[in-house]
């Protein structure tokens, strides 16, 4: 079924507009498609004007928390005599999230152009891209693109004759989800185990090497050249109230055509499903995440919620990274939660007790339930564990882990009871419990 005209009208490729142009990752093709025009424009302005402009645009972080980008840049103290850094968070580890790697593969120069503009605005002479280690292909693309940009004078010394110098280093991680948390990322980038630091102070004042540092997600920075060229009002006009611009919605799971659909903020799941050809044959929507595994799951009744920061919060979840994992009546929310909790238990850095122990115990409780040996008390134990995690963990990983548990218990308690009361065949074998630890 082809998408309806209404749904097609929602499709607004901005960050993704070059993805279909052949070889757009090469610098000469990129230049032909408006590439580096925003940099020239930006550098005609004073850095402070650029920061004010970013505030004006209403642009918010695309890494999950939606913090206003211009405000973060403005936090960087000026004339403090310390070096400033820009760090791009390209760790992309949140289950379901798959927008940053294709962006860097298909259009790496948009990220580089954004980095140069952002660094110029916050007076950083060095920028780092911390990219997840497994993404060998995307890192290679990005490194080549940095070299191309250097050869053309967009990166390096005296950029475009303005006297501004910037070096960009692409730094690969080594497979730890927690290194996406910004302070753990900084420790990792400094050559330590990636464990979160206490905030405040925030990286804006005490970041990399204890210097003022802006950390932004790939999407946050790659949007910057588009906003500079299109203007603040244009960017605001694409989204909804308090949620400016477009968003890359990543649809995965039980849909006909999974993939990246870029639309104005405030598009609904129903509209996105329309674009993606509908649910896969024989599947009916049962539950979905609006923004990755750390965002509370929603049900079919929420398919009309406008997917922007405020509306999703009102519906009881978080917009997160707009990583929409879509599950059907053939999938089990209890099992899905179990599998996510196993992930959090594995990725917990071990620094604080609620997260290290809580996820470990919840994994065991889930195993018991799914192997048909759960009790009604187990449900209270799960909620109790979440109580001890939410707001009591050292970083957002612990908080995020509770989302799937509490939301699935709220929306799909019957599914839990079906296992506990023997109406549903166990999904795990009792033998999985023997020696389970």
């Amino acid at each position: 079924m082809s998408p309806s005209p209404e749904a097609l009208a929602k499709l607004t490729p901005v960050l993704t507009k070059r993805w279909l142009s052949p070889d757009a990752w090469k610098i000469d093709v990129y230049e032909r498609l408006d590439g580096y025009a925003a940099l020239r424009k930006a550098m005609r302005h004073h850095p402070d004007e650029l920061i004010a402009f970013m505030k004006e645009s209403g642009h918010r972080g695309r890494g999950g928390a939606g913090f206003p980008v211009g405000m973060k840049w403005a936090f960087i103290p000026q004339n403090d005599g310390k070096p400033h850094y820009l760090v791009v968070n390209a760790d992309e580890g949140e289950p379901g999230t798959c927008k940053d790697l294709p962006l860097m593969t298909n259009d790496p120069h948009s990220l580089i152009e954004g980095i140069v503009i952002a660094s110029y605005a916050v007076r950083a002479a060095r920028a780092f891209v911390y990219i997840r280690g497994e993404a060998v292909h995307a890192a290679r693309r990005l490194r080549n693109a940095v070299e191309e940009a250097r050869a053309k004078g967009y990166v390096g010394e005296n950029i475009l004759g303005t006297g501004f110098d910037l070096d960009i280093v692409v730094h690969s991680g080594a497979g730890a989800y927690i290194c996406g948390e910004e302070t753990a990322l900084l420790d990792s980038l400094e050559g330590f185990r990636g464990q979160p630091r206490l905030r405040p102070p925030f990286p804006a004042t005490h970041g990399l090497y204890a210097s003022p540092t802006v950390i932004n997600n790939v999407g946050s920075i790659a949007s910057v050249p588009h906003i500079v060229l299109g203007g603040a009002d244009w960017w605001k006009s694409l989204g909804s109230e308090n949620s400016a611009g477009t968003m890359i919605y990543s649809l995965s799971g039980r849909v006909k055509n999974p993939g990246q659909y870029e639309c104005g903020m405030g598009t609904t799941l129903n509209e996105l499903l329309d674009l993606a050809g509908g649910m896969a044959d024989g599947h009916n929507l049962k539950f979905w995440t609006p923004g990755g595994s750390s965002t509370p799951m929603l049900a079919a009744e929420h398919a009309d919620v406008p997917l922007d920061f405020d509306s999703v919060a009102k519906a009881g979840s978080i917009l997160g990274t707009t990583a929409m994992m879509i599950f059907s009546d053939q999938d089990c929310p209890v099992y899905a939660s179990y599998r996510w909790i196993r992930f959090y238990a594995h990725e917990s850095c071990g620094k604080c007790t609620p997260c290290r122990e809580g996820n470990y115990w919840m994994t065991r409780v889930y195993r018991r339930i799914l192997s048909g040996q759960g009790t009604h008390d187990d449900l209270d134990t799960l909620l109790d564990a979440c109580d001890n995690l939410l707001g009591r963990s050292f970083c957002g990983l612990g908080d995020g882990a509770t989302s799937c548990v509490t939301s699935s218990l709220k929306l799909f308690k019957q599914d839990y009871l079906d296992y506990i009361e023997g109406r549903r065949q166990p999904l795990l074998k009792a033998s999985d419990l023997v020696g389970a630890h």
């Binding site: 292909h137 280093v169 730094h171 999938d331």
Partner: protein
């Protein structure tokens, strides 16, 4: 193993990317470098990083054991990783993993007797729209099923 002057030069290049006095930032890339040379992070590799950066071997080891991608034992020529995080799992990833495991006769983080293939289950690889996903030495295979995965394994052997 004694490392070549060429490798030392590469290690120095890595350290040069970071600001003066912050050469420890080069540790993760340097561990990738010695691992690609030796197949895993060997005691010699740890000693090399410690010497180049000027920190203790214990400090290097403490870092390398934190990260999943650094292997503590020899791995096969090919590292086959199957994503079994929730989304890939329900789309068939766990089945792919199980079939590969049965065919190869090894479990998670184990290597076939001929030293060719190491199998592991991976967490989300940020390619969920292509689920279920498998990688071989970090090159992606999209929407795999058990038969295809076993076919890839056979070809590697």
């Amino acid at each position: 193993m004694a490392y070549s002057e060429e490798l030392r030069e590469k290690a120095r290049e890595i350290m040069d990317r970071y600001p003066e006095g912050k050469q420890r930032s080069g540790l993760l890339p340097m561990l990738h470098l010695v691992q690609s040379e030796d197949g895993y992070v060997t005691p010699e590799g740890i000693a090399f990083c410690s010497e180049m950066i000027g920190i203790t071997k214990a400090q290097v080891a403490a870092v390398s054991t934190f990260y999943t991608m650094y292997k503590r034992e020899p791995t096969g020529d090919f590292l086959v990783s199957v994503c079994t995080n929730t989304l890939c799992d329900v789309m068939g990833g766990q089945k792919v993993y199980d079939e590969l495991s049965e065919y190869l006769g090894v479990g998670h983080d184990e290597t076939t007797a001929d030293g060719k293939i190491t199998l592991e289950h991976a967490e989300c690889l940020a390619a969920c729209d292509y689920a279920p996903v498998m990688t071989v030495n970090y090159e992606f295979y999209d929407r795999v099923d058990g038969d295809q995965a076993v076919g890839v394994a056979k070809a590697l052997q």
